[in-house]
Amino acid sequence: MTDTKKTTRQVNVTSKTSVSVLFAGDSGDGMQLTGTQFANTVAIHGTELNTFPNFPSEIRAPAGTIAGVSGFQLQFSSKPVYTPGARFDVMVAMNSAALKANLKNLHRGGIIIAGTEGFDEKNLKLAGYPEGANPLHDGSLDNYIVFPVPILQLTREALKESGLSSKEIDRCKNMFVLGLLYWLYTLPLEGTMETLYAKFQKNIWMAEANIKAMKAGYFFGDETELFANLGRFDIAPQKQHGIYRRVTGNEACAIALTAASKKAGLELFLGSYPITPATEILQTLAKKKKYGVKTYQAEDEIAGIVSSIGAAYGGALAATNTSGPGLALKTEALGLAVILEIPLVIINVQRGGPSTGLPTKPEQSDLFMALYGRHGEAPLPVIAACSPVDCFYTTYEAARIAVEHMTPVICLSDGYLALSSEPWKVESPDNLAEIKPRFQPARESGDAPYLPYKRDERQVRSWAIPGTRGLEHRIGGLEKQHETGNVSHDPENHELMTKLRAEKIARIADSIPLQSIDNGPLKGDLLVLGWGSTYGAIKTAVEQALEQGYSVAHAHLRYIYPFPKNLAEILGNYKQVVIPELNNGQLVHIIRDTFLIAPESLTKVQGVPFNEMEILTKITDLLKELQS
């Protein structure tokens, strides 16, 4: 059916501001790769971008089933975007399971590009469609614009003389789809061609076959009548000029730890154990040896944090990364880090819990554990990142607080931030805050004895690392005497040390920025107070509510313990406060408890992020209630 004439017909190109696309197929269909390539191309094209992969926790769930569906969603736009889109405008469905699993999130009137081979009898049955039903033919998709494309057949045709095995040819079908989407959105093929040549340096025929499949997809759009009525689309690039890179939240965390170590003049040590969805931090840092980074894949979560405590004791910038079940295992060691009063960064990439829960799905349900999940009185700072790029700045800040205040710091991310990506304007080293370790200098004979737990005006002790002459001292998990650090079971001393440790953390509020209002009036009817990865959805919802004339503002917390000093004042500037969270209501408890106010709670515990409509509806409902 392919027209062999290579002429480009005149097809209308419509300008659009924003598009959200989902690539969905079986987990063996290469949808993550397709999505990533598409994202790279639009990023380099200069549009705003936000991506989110969605894949099963099984590596290869049974082919063709709903459980095996893997998706990659992205939104690209001529104006800033903060989410991959609440609903998508275009869905690529490589098989019927992919369609069935995702149709509910496709806009009414949206476009479906369906790989017809994935809608054969076998696939329909695996996806759970009733016998004889085929959504491509039974009218159930009448509210959408459907393009059935024999993707596999066309790929096979294009590559029949490539010399590849039929299995290898079939694997190129995702490139056909990619080419078709490039055509649809008037995007260039060159970036992906370069990537393929680089990837298959040693198997150049493989690169050429993939490129041929991609071009076949592109020309298919160009040459068939199928898309004549729809035409093509153009999303105008809008980014300011400059150097950019695309980062996921996990990559940003890894870069931040390395940057902080460089800025502080310390060696970076990461003690870690693989756990979804935090592992990419370890993987990224394992590749940073040229920056002197030392990573240690320990035998378990406990050894991960304890090795980091050992490295911190030795004077390294030490960190550990994990997700909920791992943080639970690390809690005893966190208590040790608290009483040793040494710097340590703990990055917790939250996922659905409890127990193994939903390993690949985001949730914000570890906030209580981060704040309170230790035995004894063991306060430590807790901060949270709000976007993939913000994972850089928040992790960097966690390292700064840890080193300058001699304390473990928990930095919260989640599975959504970890895997989402957005373009990041490359940061200049000069813009990063200084990090100044307070190493205790060597002592000469005749100097006053060294007091390991002597504190400065912020209640912070100094960092006395082995190898420093005259500072030999012994510390440990047993309660210590004030200043000398010797073991002490004295009742008053224990109370004093408990209060000093708490005061040290509380005083961090003196060195962090005041809370700002992200958007909206400084005083008004409603404040939407968020934390973590809900930023994008809240930001978009509040923007829309403001456009509709509502008196609503958005504040987003990075510092959860201690809170910024002006938070009480800010909360008092609005008649009502609403707190959206991906948990069963945790920050709302803490705000209520700390400020004795009664905020509204909006929660979602489905393992998926909020979409902006859910938040917008809550905002408008609350404001209507306030006015009545």
Binding site: N40, K239, H241, G242, I243, Y244, R245, R246, V247, I255, A259, K262, K263, E267, F269, G271, K288, K289, K290, Y291, G292, K294, Y296, A298, E299, D300, I302, A303, V306, S307, S308, G310, A311, Y313, G314, G315, A316, A318, E332, A333, L336, L340, V426, E427, S428, P429, L432, I465, P466, G467, R469, G470, L471, E472, H473, R474, I475, G476, G477, L478
Partner: protein, 343 residues
């Protein structure tokens, strides 16, 4: 390398006193831990390492109080986790001499996972495993090395758990050094501690240590002059395995089976005996199993010593390789390798 020479480098100004901290040991009178501390204080000045470059790391238990009593750097961690803490420290600071004080409960029970993994990775640590076959600090519960049948507060009818064989576990985990010493034989203990300090890699020293309160006389068979000679064998590199009061008994290998022979009888001479070779992992494995066989004497000394790259050296080599064109800058880090320009 045989090692009876414990007086190699002597720092002129430092003595055992210089390595005593200002804290009074709080171990019970008669506890074997005092002896280990005493030998360490004697040994440390002989190593030629400045006190500020030595760190003692420990977990939880009586033996884990060790760091408090030495005037070096010290950190007392949490139960079972001394080895990962020491490993992290050694990776971050390969320049330091890192020692670990741990016990049979700390290292082999709650810290068992760390024990086997540390051994296979082989960071350069000197690990002193105080084995008293009992939980002392929690007052007398049985441990993973307690003998079958031992009656304790948690095994009133006698222990039914098969005990760990520390030597076999060490060798089986891929450890590069195993030695056994005894709290009552100070001089020998010191020579073994010196060998451990000299070995590059994880040196595991099992020290039979008497707990006079909760498991008194657990090692009595090897302690009194009367029975010591017949129940123990001190192994030395390249020397035949000879023991007994008049050095009149020996160990011969019958295939893989160790057999005790009487040297007073004419049919055997020392030339028939097993010659100790601490580089031979098969022989070390057989020595490790002596503890399971009552008719065989208990070996003391260095069972096994293998030269193998340490974890921190292997990592440092990889880092050096990747920095062959110099250490990369912060600017390069922030820019990354896939950045693009929008004009």
């Amino acid at each position: 390398m045989t090692d009876n020479d414990t007086t190699m480098k002597v720092l002129p100004v430092l003595t055992a006193k210089d390595f005593a901290s200002d804290q009074e040991p709080k171990w019970c009178p008669g506890c074997g831990d005092h002896s280990v501390l005493q030998q360490l204080k004697q040994l440390l000045p002989e190593l030629g390492v400045a006190p500020e470059n030595i760190v003692f790391v420990s977990g939880i238990g009586c033996s884990s109080r060790l760091p408090y009593y030495l005037a070096t750097y010290g950190v007392h961690g949490i139960h079972g986790r001394a080895l990962p803490m020491a490993t992290g420290l050694k990776i971050a600071r390969p320049d330091l001499s890192v020692w670990v004080g741990t016990g049979d409960g700390d290292a082999l029970s709650i810290g068992g996972n760390h024990f086997i993994h540390t051994l296979r990775r082989n960071p350069d640590l000197n690990v002193l495993l105080f084995n008293n076959e009992i939980y002392g600090l929690t007052k007398g519960q049985y441990s993973p090395t307690s003998k079958i049948g031992l009656r304790t507060v948690t095994s009133p009818s006698g222990v039914i758990d098969h005990p760990f064989n520390t030597a076999a576990l060490t060798i089986g985990s891929g450890g590069t050094f195993f030695a056994r010493a005894f709290d009552r034989d100070g001089k020998f203990l010191r020579s073994i501690l010196h060998r451990a300090a000299m070995h590059r890699g994880t040196s595991l020293v099992e020290i039979y240590q008497n707990c006079p309160i909760f498991n008194n006389a657990a090692f009595e068979a090897y302690a009194t002059p009367d029975n010591k000679a017949d129940n123990t064998i001190y192994i030395e590199q390249d020397k035949p395995l000879v023991f007994g009061k008049g050095k009149n008994r020996g160990i011969m290998l019958d295939g893989f089976k160790p057999v005790v022979v009487d040297l007073d009888k004419e049919e055997f001479s020392t030339s028939d005996l097993w010659i100790h070779d601490e580089r031979d992992i098969n022989k070390a494995s057989i020595l490790a199993r002596f503890a399971d066989e009552e008719s065989l004497p208990r070996p003391f000394g260095v069972f096994y010593a293998e030269e193998r790259v340490t974890y921190e050296d292997a990592l440092a080599a990889q880092i050096k390789d990747s920095q062959i064109n110099g250490c990369w800058t912060l600017e390069e880090l922030l820019k990354g390798e896939n950045s693009y320009e929008i004009k």
